[in-house]
């Protein structure tokens, strides 16, 4: 483990002259992360079906784990005794954990939010009521030991129209941040990130960001998006938040991972992303390519002896034909491994493409080509045209 005075050093090494995109190096206790970065999700202390050895060979620099799941199984006691999640799962590179709050609200319909915390019906054998407070969330995250931990936030459905409730959530999120910082036991080795809330209300987003910026944290997340809102609303809030947040610290857009969103939001100045989509869709037999995703279950691939993507250098594309994958895809667990590996490689290649083009001062060209490959008929969705035009890119 690297020992710094500060558990997070963020160095912006290149900036795009046209858009708000930037390339950085984030130095964390367990290693360096090149940004913009996509972080795959290893919910239960494992990135589904993949050995950490494989992920390391691919050059993966950081992954995410979920506090709600790990707090339930194996539980903080075992994680503590194991010496933290890094050791438990054999991954010595950086980790990030969420607060657990989002899962409670999304998975558990019975969750009730009070000033104290999130109250919910426990899923374990006792079925009792359990309260997840900001302090408790941080305590579990301290036991897990991820390089970056997230504050507990008051999550509201993005499409909720209840202004007063959303306003309350913004203030409560700030109050909970203070409690999280106060309860944090390992400030030398773990970084708390705060979370901007306010759903689609600009004034509330401004207020949220202004309050959070006054607190001393090493990075900021944009929360409460990717929850069913329209793309027109989505990009405007991202655009606003990256303007509001300090330039010198990493910005993390939670729950976003579609290729097109990664390109647009990198242009809007986001540094970190996470999403279960690439790994989940792999388990359903879908492979990601630069021209969209293909479902290998389709009979048309039965005699297709090309790799998933001829430009991809992942182990799956170097080794297997679409025809072979088609035959095992809904049948064998190894198919999950092979497609997960490809989809991760795809996400990493895309992010590398973004970083390289920013560094080499050709990011606008990269974006135009990416969009044209995806929409060869130039039938770009309006939100794509508008969001990119807001950062001075006009599509071909």
């Amino acid at each position: 483990m690297l020992v710094n005075r500060n558990p997070l050093l963020f160095d912006i090494t290149s900036e795009c002259k046209t858009t708000k995109a930037r390339v950085g190096k984030m130095v964390l206790p367990h290693g360096v992360v090149d940004t913009p970065v996509f972080m795959p999700v290893g919910t239960q202390g494992t990135l589904k079906s993949m050995l950490p050895e494989q992920l390391d060979n691919m050059g993966l620099q950081i992954m995410l784990a979920n506090t709600y799941h790990l707090g339930t199984n194996p539980g903080p006691e075992i994680l503590k005794r194991a010496g933290g999640l890094h050791k438990f799962m054999n991954w010595d590179k950086p980790l990030l954990t969420d607060s657990g709050g989002f899962q409670m609200v999304s998975l558990l319909k019975l969750a009730e939010i009070t000033e104290e915390g999130v109250k919910f019906q426990s899923l374990n054998e006792h079925k009792g009521e359990v309260m997840l407070t900001p302090e408790h969330s941080v305590e579990i995250q301290n036991a897990i030991g991820a390089d970056i931990i997230m504050q507990l936030d008051d999550v509201i459905t993005t499409t909720s129209p209840d202004y007063d409730r959303i306003k309350e959530s913004v203030h409560r999120t700030t109050r909970w941040l203070d409690r999280c910082i106060e309860a944090h036991a390992n400030p030398e080795t773990q970084n708390v990130f705060s979370i901007v809330q306010g759903t689609l209300y600009e004034d509330l987003r401004r207020r949220s960001a202004a309050d959070l910026v006054k607190r001393d944290v090493n990075g900021y997340a944009i929360g409460g998006l990717s929850g069913g809102e329209s793309k027109d609303d989505f990009w405007k809030i991202v655009h606003l938040c990256t303007d509001l947040l300090p330039k010198g610290k990493p910005r993390y857009l939670m729950g976003v991972g579609f290729a097109i969103d990664l390109v647009v939001c990198s242009a809007l100045g986001v540094d970190m992303f996470d999403c279960v989509f690439p790994t989940r869709t792999a388990r359903f037999g879908c492979a990601l390519t630069m021209t969209g995703q293909i479902s290998l279950r389709k009979p048309e691939y039965a005699k297709d002896f090309a790799p998933i993507d001829k430009d991809c250098s992942c182990h799956t594309c170097r080794t297997y034909t679409r025809a072979f994958l088609h035959g095992i895809v809904s049948d064998l667990p190894v198919a999950c491994t092979l497609l997960t590996e490809h989809n991760l490689a795809f996400q990493m290649r895309l992010m590398r493409g973004i970083r390289d083009s920013v560094r080499e001062e050709r990011f606008p060209e990269f974006v135009r080509k990416f969009m044209l490959d995806l929409h060869p008929d130039r039938d770009y969705p309006s939100w794509i045209r508008e969001s990119l035009s807001a950062v001075n890119i006009d599509l071909l």
Partner: protein, 417 residues
């Protein structure tokens, strides 16, 4: 590919080597050996990339037709071999009929056809259709088509029919083989059917030995219907048939047996002169969350023959599956972590258990070869026998805790993937 005996002075146990392989002049594979049992061309749960972390030695993949039937048409358009198609160019391949890890449904016989049970249901193979697929797969070894649908309880009528069918099916395949240019150097394994009846075995042997110059090896078929039950077949029941068959096949030919034989029975079969097995046993263990922990060295000691990682006593156990094991799963992961993965039904759990089991089982075969070389096979048998028997007694006498027994029974039930 050809088979050579390295210990010609004794019929059994013996050492041998497979070599003179097309395009692989430097590869030699020693027997007794275990073929790597596969489904869809992969060791269950383990990709070829991951297997390279387990072993870099040359291997022969056992490719059951039943798991590859879906590629029948695809392969007629494909240029390469089956090893290339499944993504393991450097491995050798051995095409077999049924999957030894799954119970094969009995019955459904139709004249001159053999039923196989694919995911999509029953498919009937006749010799022409079978040899078409052999020619398009281009394996390094394959078994001729047979009717192995007999077991300890089969009636005489079924046994006679199985022998009759096997003779006819094998001969038709062999006729095609003789004419085939692609299969000129392919290693041919001839099945011997006949259940537990020596007369029936004799009849099958006599008929098929007529073509022995074309045959490189034999398969003692028709002893069981595959699946987890084979682990518990008493050796004394199979001994007579295996002895008789081996006595009657030419000593320079390879002798193989398929199925989830437990290590103790493997040792006894090796002592009868069997040269080739498969790793399907590792799959049935892995599916019941069990890891092999028997020791192969006198001084090593072992807590148990196998451990079931589902048991809650492993939750706080941060030691490796087996402290003396060098495999990736033991070097980097703990019992507690694997227990956690099993508890939350994560795909990585069977990956790690399979890595260990395959590593252990291949190491066991290496040990067998060493012991034959040093003439210490019976010492190894005693060592394994003590561990295996005390484990079986523990289970049968109910001396295991409820959790262990339940885990064992449950996992026997859901073996069919």
């Amino acid at each position: 590919m050809k088979f050579f005996i390295r210990t010609p002075q004794q019929r059994a146990p013996r050492l041998g080597v497979l070599k003179d392989i097309d395009n692989r002049p430097n590869v030699e594979i020693e027997t007794p050996l275990a073929l790597l049992h596969t489904q869809g061309g992969h060791i269950p749960h383990v990709t070829h990339e991951v297997f390279k972390l387990v072993s870099k030695d040359p291997q022969i993949l056992q490719i059951p037709l039943v798991s590859m039937h879906c590629f029948r048409e695809t392969m007629t358009y494909y240029d390469g071999t089956i090893s290339e198609f499944i993504g393991s160019t450097n491995s050798l391949s051995c095409l077999t009929l049924h999957d030894p890890s799954n119970l094969t449904k009995q019955g459904h016989h139709i004249r001159n056809k053999v039923p196989i049970w694919t995911k999509q249901g029953k498919v009937l193979y006749d010799p022409e259709m079978y040899m078409d697929i052999v020619e398009s797969f281009k394996p390094d070894m394959y078994c001729l088509l047979s009717d192995g649908d007999t077991n300890m309880t089969s009636a005489q009528k079924r046994i006679s029919k199985a022998v009759e069918n096997t003779i006819s099916l094998s001969r038709q395949c062999l006729e095609r083989h003789k004419k085939s240019v692609q299969l000129k150097n392919t290693f041919v394994i001839c099945p011997i059917a006949g259940g537990y009846c020596l007369n029936a075995r004799e009849k099958c042997l006599k008929a098929l030995l007529a073509d022995q110059d074309e045959l490189n090896g034999f398969l003692v078929d028709g002893l069981h219907n595959n699946g987890p039950e084979v682990e518990f077949l008493p050796f004394e029941e199979v001994r007579g048939v295996v002895e008789f068959t081996i006595k009657n096949i030419p000593p320079d030919k390879l002798c193989s047996m398929q199925g989830c034989w437990n290590p103790l029975n493997v040792l006894k079969l090796v002592q009868l002169g069997v040269d080739m097995f498969d790793t399907s046993y590792c799959r049935i263990l892995t599916e019941r969350s069990a890891a092999l922990t028997f020791s192969m060295e006198e001084e090593e000691g072992s807590e148990s023959y196998e451990i079931n990682l589902r048991q809650s006593k492993y939750a706080y156990d941060f030691t490796s599956i087996m402290s003396s094991c060098q495999c990736l799963a033991c070097a980097k992961y703990s019992r507690g972590y694997i227990h956690h993965l099993l508890t939350v039904q994560e795909l990585l759990a069977p990956v790690l258990i399979m890595i260990h089991n395959i590593h252990h089982y291949l190491k066991f075969f290496k040990k067998i070869r060493e012991c034959i070389e040093n003439d210490t096979l019976s010492e190894l048998e005693h060592l394994i026998s003590d561990q295996y028997k005390s484990h079986q007694e523990k289970i049968l006498s109910g001396k295991v805790d409820e959790e262990e027994l339940q885990g064992f029974l449950n996992n026997m039930g859901d073996i069919e993937f």
